[in-house]
Symmetry: C2
């Protein structure tokens, strides 16, 4: 009946610390962006990805794939970003089903204004506190864990853009 391989004490300790850190980190970054730029973290990420894309535009499904987000979620998010005037929707020239999301100049400015605060928060939370070797190890650990998770969550290309 119970052939579950439970966690050892040490593993539990690591897991609790890790998952607590994770929640606190996301909370901190989200609150910083919300406070300084009135932008949820996930929306910020959409603007970032768009800003790096050719013509600052991407198909909806590409955008969803790159951010590991569902189509539905992205559709709602882009609708909201569009009503703020930061993103525009255009018809896809090669596939009449498709939509292109395009970052507007206004959207780019919002992103440019939000980035310094966000990067500083990330640096203070992570890179100023870890040794260079710890940072490298964190990268290796993250890549290993990521490789083991459902590939549907994040397309291979999701690590090409920054």
């Amino acid at each position: 009946m119970d052939d579950t391989r439970w966690l050892t004490e040490a593993e539990q300790e690591v897991w609790r610390t890790f998952i607590t850190m994770l929640g606190a980190l996301v909370d901190t970054l989200d609150k910083q962006l919300q406070r300084d730029s009135a932008l949820p973290y996930t929306y910020y990420e959409i603007l970032v990805v768009l800003s790096h894309a050719p013509d600052r535009s991407l198909r909806m499904s590409e955008l969803a794939g790159l951010r590991g987000s569902s189509r539905s979620r992205l559709s709602h998010a882009v609708a909201r970003l569009e009503s703020a005037g930061w993103v525009e929707r255009r018809e896809c020239p090669t596939d009449k089903r498709g939509s292109l999301a395009v970052l507007t100049d206004k959207g780019f400015e919002v992103l440019a204004a939000a980035a310094p605060g966000h990067v500083t928060a990330v640096r203070e939370a992570i890179f100023d506190r870890l040794s260079p070797e710890q940072v490298r190890e964190l990268g290796r650990i993250s890549a290993t864990v990521l490789d083991g998770l459902d590939p549907g969550q994040c397309l291979p290309g999701s690590r090409e853009l920054g």
Copy 2:
């Protein structure tokens, strides 16, 4: 004007891998729990914390602090868990403002039924994929990052329960 210390290429790579892993991990665990136990991850955590508490009961604010959650969020969550019959609210005997959240037997059973699948998912995602030394390093890294974040996010005691 721009004295922001931007991330190096290598740091960006680590950060993107890390944050992508993080999202995919939470998604995976959340979907597993939702599918197998119809339980959001945050609600599962509430049941876990309660199950370890004396008398399986805690003050609302203690519970919120231990899970790094806002009072409001917890209040809504407990209301939902109560309507499912998994948690009960009782008056606090020492402070008439307070509420106690108590895990019911039914709630304990739900938790017991959900735990094996969840632990297995965690083990497969993390502990089966990392070397023992990587696990230790992940623990150290997490603790270091956590210490740097807003202490309001998680009380000191948040790492005493499991």
